[in-house]
Symmetry: C2
Subunit: 280 residues, 2 copies
């Protein structure tokens, strides 16, 4: 289905994960990171030092033996032959938030990205929050600088190629908080084969190698599945018209639910989420 | 299906309909109002005179022979024996925006409301914009004064009984503009039998007596259909937990599409919306 043959895990976080309370999400990052070095990659951020201080403190507090900073601020630095060495000994890489274009524009096609994929194939963990989560999809949503009409397919967002660590998924974040379901519906309207995942703040999905994901955290994850779409008006001609799309399937998932990416079915897997009936 | 046996039409407008350009929506109100008096009901508004001036001017400009103001500002006025006489000779009533609770709290159980239903049963038109649209449903969404977590079913909204001119529907407005899909998903999660309709600003649905509606205006109408829901965690116990609901069907409809409320199927009925394939 377009997913790379990785045997590692990916954690996609919707941004603003708790850093002072139970730390449910960061604790899970640490648990799945294993015993090696955890690398904090601040490529998306305009304030990399600030992000580095915040996350290195949080991860050290959770008992990670070594936290390392991947402080790549330009394409030139990413291309440096020594850059890939920054991942030596690492078992996990955590991408901070900021601008997702900065991640792919710096990493795309580099030996450093090849090294990241290798770490992932070897069973490593790649996590990202906010922009760092968006960058993980094969296709990536980007908001243009100007605020357009929420239904103009042209103005609301555009898409570009992401890092592709989670195939077929389009990942969006800060989901309820920034009212982004419209652009995910538009993205699915453009290619109903794509699966859109909108992740709320302080909420994450853990994507397992078995092509399923679990939800953790305090908010919800919206799955927008266009595979049953019977009509869409999206076309080059219609790029300025109001979206029209029939038969989109939406699931709202909370902590304790699992989604199977192969069968496209959600299910309840813990008592925490089981209130009425099983979902499958 | 709970809808009153009316042979009239209802126009539900998502708010902020164009009043200076093509006036697509208000023009349709006038066309369907017929030859009688058009009554502007400002029950929802804190500035009824301002609303009255705005709409009487717009409707007069569109050639309506007589526009009358239903200026009920209290329950006492609504209960007045003469109040119902204000609808004599009217073929259409247009409810302005404001606070939908003000409409139902004043009108509920009055002879004036009975007179409005009579007008509707006789083939008259009842239209409403913003709060005026929300009040038309059998069940009505209300935002509490405090802004809660968007996924707390308890804080995000509550529901009360509306005027019931459109049965089974829950109507929401300013839809994309105020990011309201979450509360409509929550409402459908509570009772999957309900059909949620979210209407964007400058967008409207015309509900015909044949139990179907057409979309007009510049934005989109979101239909949230819970009838296929296989799991929901909504319960009294779970009122503070994050929503979890599987298999909600969502349609995004633009001008030129029709939705059949009996079969719950959308379709394209004008060339304007037909871009790719028919939807049925």
């Amino acid at each position: 289905m377009g997913a790379p043959a990785g045997s590692g895990r990916v954690i996609l976080i919707g941004g603003r994960e708790d850093k002072h309370g139970e730390l449910v999400i960061l604790r899970e990052v640490v648990r799945l990171a294993g015993a090696g070095t955890l690398v904090v990659a601040t490529l998306a951020s305009e304030e990399p030092e600030c992000q580095w201080r915040r996350y290195s403190k949080a991860f050290a507090g959770l008992g990670v033996p070594e936290v390392r900073h991947l402080a790549i601020t330009s394409r030139e630095q990413a291309l440096d032959r020594q850059a890939a060495r920054r991942l030596d000994g690492a078992t996990a890489v955590f991408f901070t938030g900021g601008d997702q274009l900065q991640i792919v524009a710096k990493l795309g096609g580099t030996a450093l990205l090849a090294r990241l994929r290798e770490l992932f194939s070897d069973g490593g963990l790649v996590a990202g929050t906010s922009a760092g989560a968006s960058a993980m999809g094969e296709t990536m949503l980007v908001s243009p600088g100007v605020r357009g009409h929420p239904h103009s397919v042209e103005n609301a967002f555009y898409m570009t190629k992401g890092l592709g660590l989670v195939g077929d998924l389009i990942v969006d974040q800060h989901f309820a908080q920034r009212a982004r379901i419209h652009r995910l519906l538009g993205a699915v309207g453009e290619n109903p084969g794509v699966l859109g995942i909108g992740i709320d703040e302080d909420t994450a999905v853990i994507v397992h190698p078995e092509r399923c994901f679990d939800v953790i955290g305090s908010g919800a994850v919206y799955v927008v599945d266009g595979s049953g779409v019977t009509h869409t008006n999206v076309s080059q001609r219609a790029s300025l018209s109001t979206l029209c799309v029939f038969d989109v399937k939406v699931h709202v998932l909370n902590a304790g639910t699992r989604y199977d990416l192969s069968t496209r079915r959600p299910s309840v897997y813990t008592a925490e989420a089981a209130e009425v009936t099983p979902g499958t």
